[in-house]
Structure formats: C-alpha cells, structure tokens
Symmetry: C2
Subunit: 251 residues, 2 copies
DNA sequence: CGGTACATTGAGAAATTTCAAAGTTGGTGG
DNA sequence: CCACCAACTTTGAAATTTCTCAATGTACCG
C-alpha cells in the first residue's frame, strides 16, 4: 500500500496540484471486487453506475462543508479524514477514510454536508451519480441491503466514537485509534507487520481524539516510553500488541 | 405532556411493575398522524404494520444490550434514554428518546444492540414487526425515503454529539442538552413556556455529557447562579434564553 | 418514621490546556 | 550540496478543568 501511495503522489504532482479528472477507471480498479465498488457499482451488471475519479494531493481538501458534492464519493486510494471545523478554528475528526470507504452513506439523500474532507496522503476518490445509485437501491434488494448495512455501520461507528470521547482517557483514545487502524489493515488482508503506515500528524491525532496537540505529544511519548507503540514519521511500530489492545480496544 | 406522564404512571402502577401488553392501540394514539406512526405505520393504508404496545415504569429498562428485541420500537409517551454500559459500570447516554422517536432506525436490520434503553418517566413504547416494515419500505418509495431520513438524522445527531463531546466544555455540553430539549419541545408545538418538564437526574445529565455527577452538580449550580437556567426537581426554568443558547447551541 | 435515592459541599489529586520557546524534519531552490 | 523555510515535534511551567473521595444535607415514598 505504501508504494501505491507513492506512485499516486507522483501522479498528483505531475498534475501540479490541480485535481485530475478521469472517466470511470473502475474497470481496472483494484477495489472493484471488494466493498461497494464491487457489490454495488459494478461487475458487469447492466446498469451499473459509472463514476468519475479525481486525484487530490496530500493536505488538500477533497470537500468543503456546505458546498455541493459532485456525487457519492468513494475513496479509492490513500487516507483521508472527515472532520467538522468549528468557528474558533478547532477541528473534530469524525472518521478516518481508507481505501474502499464510502465517504457518507447519506449522500444519496443530501448533496451538502456539515463536515469537510481532507486528504492525508495523495488520494484518489471516485464520484458516482446519486440518482443512479438511488434507483439501483430501490430496484435491487441486495443493493438496498448493502446500503442499509453501510449506514448502520456508520451509525455504529459514530456511536462507538461517542462513547470513546465521553468516557475514556486521552491515552485510551489514542490507543483506540491505533487499534482501529490496525484492525482496518488486517481486515483488508495486508501484511500483519509490527510496523505500518500511519500518516496522521500529532495535530490530526489530537483532532481525532478531542485533545490538544501538546497533550497528544506527551501521550504519544508515554506510549513510546512504556514500550506499547511508537507513533511517528508517518508510521507506527507496535511494540506490545497485547498491552496496546488492552488499553485501546473499546468495551 | 406532564399530565400525560402522570396518568401513564397511574396505569403502570396499576400493572404493578409487570410490563402491560396491549394489541395495537395505534388507532387511538395521539401520535398516529405525526412522525413515523403516521407516515410509516398507518393511516388506513391497506397493509399498515400493526404494533404491540408496552408500558414501562420509570427507571425500568425497556431493553437490555445483547438481548433480542421484540421489534422496531417507537416511544409513544414519556422520556427514555439510549445508553451504553461500560464494564466498569459507567454509562454513556447516546440519545434522549422523546414521544414519537424511533428507537433505532437500524432495527430493521438487526435485532440485537450494544446499547440499552431505560425509561426516565413512565413510558409507553410500541413494537412493530421488522419484516413487515422492511417489506413496506421496499414496496413504497415514500416509506423508503422516510426511513433513509430517519437513519440520516440519527447519524447526523450522533456526529453532532461526537463534536460536542470532543470539543466543548462541561458547561457548554450541559447547556446544549437543555437547548436540545427545548428545541424538541418547540418542534412538537408545546407551550413555549419558561419552565418545562426535564426528568433527568444529575447522574443522568452527567452520563449524557460524559461528566462526573459531582462536577455536573457544580456546573448546574453555576448555571443557576449565573442566572442562565435552573435545572432541578424534574423541571428546568429558562432564566436567560439568549445566554443559554449562546452557550449551548452547537456551531 | 425510616429509608433510599438524589443533591450538595469541601479538599486535594489528576488530567488536560495554555502559552511560549526551542529543537527536528523534510522538501525546495540556489 | 547547502541553506533555508515551513510544518511538525518536543519541552517546561503554570493555569484550568475535571475527577475522586468522603461526608453531609434533602426530598420523596411506602
């Protein structure tokens, strides 16, 4: 995955910061048989919705709160975050978006959101026309089921996070973030290594966990000093998997 | 609404703590023309799902995490909370449930949840068979739309709460709870009084806002001393509406 | 009348934030 | 290859918020 991101970076840089648009590259997409891209959008079905893909450089906004979306977005490659920006400039990250993630399952209902989306690495996203998707969901019970699952999953996830923020300490919340990234990584069958890419800055970890970057720094250091995990330089090394999941796993 | 709850209490007490079951009282339900109960379940449609209603006394559990639900639940009368219980006994309240609220729009998918539900006052809930609802949603695009709206609303709400817990102070979160209760009250067209029923104990306010009951007590007192609002004895008096909504309103 | 749950208070400890400054890192252009 | 810049990380010290523990006060119910 790391080299995927690297080659994406090159592509984006060649485009010189301007989003590069491309007509439905789904035919060759490595995700086409997984997640939504396989089950919902494609695989030779007669009227499979067709998407338009965009490349976004790291740190660029993929979507700004309040604007009109260009469709139902799926992250094809790279990492992004979905966040709310408060009037005083602070941010709360609502969720991490990894390859294969549907950005918002409510996008077939609304085309404006109160959250924004920012690329952490170079990112490729694919946009599908809401109307087509909606039609497909109404026509095809399997697609309907899949969509319900997606929404239910998003809701479960948001409520898990809510408990996390309401009841758990800074250390537990940061550990939970690492555990979550680890779990996502495993479920996509990537090499279960002791070290993997984790492109969040401390500021971003802070925004995720509802903390100050300074305090985040201290907690990250304590996790390192206690031999639990070493977060930094775009990667995380798992030092004590048992201790980490004891601290971080929700419930 | 207060006297509604009082008469409900009497009914529940007559039943002596044992949940009282009743076959589909929707025909005479005062909610039948509003919310889900009107648009989704009823109003003379040929195959409108039929519910079974239950009465629950204050402080009793309506549903316990992990058990099988007896259907898709709607709160008909009274106040309840949906909460997660942690292994160490602490609780996080996920949402307030008021009359007309669908308990969980994902209930047509799953029959077990990780949250529990407790009655704050005497409560009447109505349970509808998931399969019938699901069929209706697939058959009737208006019902489908309505259901999507419900889920999207739940998701928006959860994410608003997430930002609240992640970014705001104890005072702001408690004020937000009052503002929310006030808004719900207004949207159901109840008398826009300076004082209204608010049957949460300080412990429950604490569980909602992710705080300690002791700290909650101090914040509640400060809100009273600062002439903003007076929470207690099952009611809240709004003392300075402008200040309250300045402190409490999200974003 | 007693009991149970709920609310309040005080004092001290712990967690987290704030402010401010200094150290690191990686990328860019000369 | 070096210098520089910008973003990110680390550190210290003090303030603030929130929690913990423990005791006391209060209201309602049977």
């Amino acid at each position: 995955m790391l080299h995927d991101i690297d080659s994406l970076s090159a592509a984006v840089n060649a485009g010189d910061g301007v989003p590069v648009r491309q007509r439905s590259p789904c035919a060759t997409c490595h995700l086409r048989n997984e997640h939504f891209c396989g089950a919902l959008f494609g695989n030779g079905a007669d009227a499979a919705p067709r998407g338009t893909s965009r490349l976004i450089a790291a740190r660029q906004n993929i979507y700004r709160a309040g604007e009109l979306t260009d469709g139902v977005l799926v992250v094809c490659d790279g990492w992004a975050v979905r966040f709310v920006q408060l009037p005083d400039g602070r941010r709360q990250i609502l969720s991490l978006l990894l390859p294969g993630d549907l950005v918002s399952p409510t996008a077939i209902l609304e085309r404006r959101f109160t959250f924004s989306i920012q690329a952490l690495t170079a990112v490729r996203v694919c946009a599908f026309p809401p109307a087509q998707l909606r039609a497909r969901i109404l026509r095809d019970p399997a697609a309907f089921e899949l969509w319900l699952d997606a929404i239910a999953g998003a809701l479960r996830d948001a409520e898990r996070r809510l408990v996390d923020l309401g009841q758990r300490t800074a250390q537990q919340r940061i550990a939970a973030l690492i555990v979550h990234a680890m779990a996502r990584r495993e479920e996509r069958g990537e090499l279960d290594d002791e070290e993997f890419a984790f492109p969040l800055s401390q500021q971003q970890i802070a925004d995720f966990a509802g903390l100050t970057p300074v305090h985040t720094c201290r907690v990250v250091r304590s996790l390192r000093n206690d031999g639990i995990c070493d977060i930094g330089r775009g990667v995380v090394k798992i030092l004590d998997r048992a201790a980490l999941s004891r601290i971080g796993s929700l419930r």
